[in-house]
């Protein structure tokens, strides 16, 4: 009986150690890379306020020459329109939206901005002299001909 108990205990210990060894081989860590390691973060490009950048190609949506981070653009409100909608643009001294933005999806003329054009920052972004993240050899068609 005593021999049996010792054997059982010994095999239990062996099994535990064995499993431990296997686990330690397969799973070094669950956390991924060490959080202390330096993570290179590129500098955030400062927004260029004031001078307007030229378009890089004809169809490019014009860049925004001012900050927009405090403007609300969501399903409830679009603060861009407070200055840029055709009905107030002249009074506010702001460029008005392109008239294409008042065309519904079936081509019908609308008086208010088309729903498909509601989210301005889907195409228009604040201008910044930012270095491209990936090398880019893009040329506008006018330079290619």
């Amino acid at each position: 009986m005593r021999k049996l108990m010792i054997f059982a205990a010994a095999s239990a210990i062996a099994a535990t150690l064995g499993i431990g060894a296997v686990v330690s081989e397969e799973l070094t860590t669950l956390r991924g890379p060490s959080p202390n390691a330096d993570v290179a973060v590129s500098d955030v490009a400062k927004q260029e306020v004031g001078n307007r950048f030229e378009r890089a190609y004809r169809q490019q949506p014009p860049l925004i020459p001012h900050q927009i981070d405090r403007y609300q653009i969501d399903m409830r409100a679009n603060q861009c329109l407070n200055c840029h909608d055709w009905s107030v643009a002249a009074k506010q001294g702001a460029p008005t939206l392109s008239m294409t933005h008042y065309l519904g999806r079936d081509g019908q003329q609308l008086d208010t901005v088309a729903g498909t054009r509601w989210f301005c920052n889907q195409c228009h972004v604040p201008q910044a002299d930012a270095k491209e993240l990936v090398e880019n050899k893009f040329k506008p068609s006018s330079e290619v001909k």
């Binding site: 900050q67 405090r70 969501d74 409830r76 909608d85 009905s87």
Partner: protein, 230 residues
């Protein structure tokens, strides 16, 4: 009948008389010192309560504020910014000077009614449905006081327009010239705008404009989104 009336009135009358009769029992000094101490406790307690209910912690103690307006506020410039100076709820929503502060505090009892009895903005849906009404009433207060709470910190006199974006500087100069107030342009800077907020503000602005200006502004507001006929 008359007898019962006089009997009922008797103890009250004597209490009144006793209150105004010089005390023969306590020394004048005792009365003065006791009165002074009680006065300090009451006045101090009153001010303490006033201050305690004038903190962000108190405001966000109710889920209506914490989950809606405060959650939105956390993402705005008045909560987090480059300089680390920030405004708390009462900085904008409770006047600083005594008179207006007390009036606002008394008005705020309606908020308790809404919280405990009618539960008017208890759920997200209820809050969203009422948002335009709540926003409009705050805009109205701001406009009526010439954005007094904004001006506790922001002052045109000390605003360096040369350090602003050209666009902003131009607009601020225009605001001075045409006697506009902060809230006329800066709605939705601390909380999200409700749907139809812009139109609601134009209407409010027209309603509150001084006589003579009203017609002009109303014409402007009604012309929004419609072709100009001139």
């Amino acid at each position: 009948m008359t007898d019962t009336n006089t009997q009922a009135a008797e103890p009250r009358a004597s209490l009144w008389r006793r209150f105004w009769t010089p005390s023969a029992r306590y020394a004048l000094g005792t009365l003065l010192v006791a009165g002074f101490i009680i006065g300090v406790v009451f006045w101090g307690g009153f001010n303490w309560a006033l201050e305690a209910t004038n903190t962000e912690k108190f405001c966000t103690g109710c889920h209506e504020m914490k989950d809606n307006v405060f959650a939105e506020y956390k993402q705005t410039i008045h909560y987090q910014n480059h300089s680390g100076v920030r405004a708390t709820c009462p900085d904008c929503h409770v006047p600083k000077d005594w008179e207006h502060k007390i009036i606002r505090k008394i008005q705020a009892s309606k908020e308790l009614w809404g919280h405990f009895i009618t539960k008017s903005i208890w759920t997200k849906e209820k809050f969203e449905a009422k948002r335009i009404e709540l926003a409009t009433s705050e805009w109205k207060r701001m406009k009526a006081t010439d954005s007094r709470e904004c001006r506790n910190c922001h002052n045109f006199e000390f605003m360096d327009f040369t350090k602003q974006e050209t666009r902003a500087a131009k607009k601020h100069q225009e605001a001075i010239d045409t006697k506009k107030t902060c809230i006329d342009c800066h709605q939705g800077i601390a909380h999200r705008l409700p749907e139809g907020g812009y139109e609601a503000y134009q209407k409010l602005s027209a309603d509150m404009a001084p006589q003579g200006e009203t017609e002009k502004l109303r014409a402007f507001a009604s012309g929004l989104g419609k072709p100009v006929t001139q």
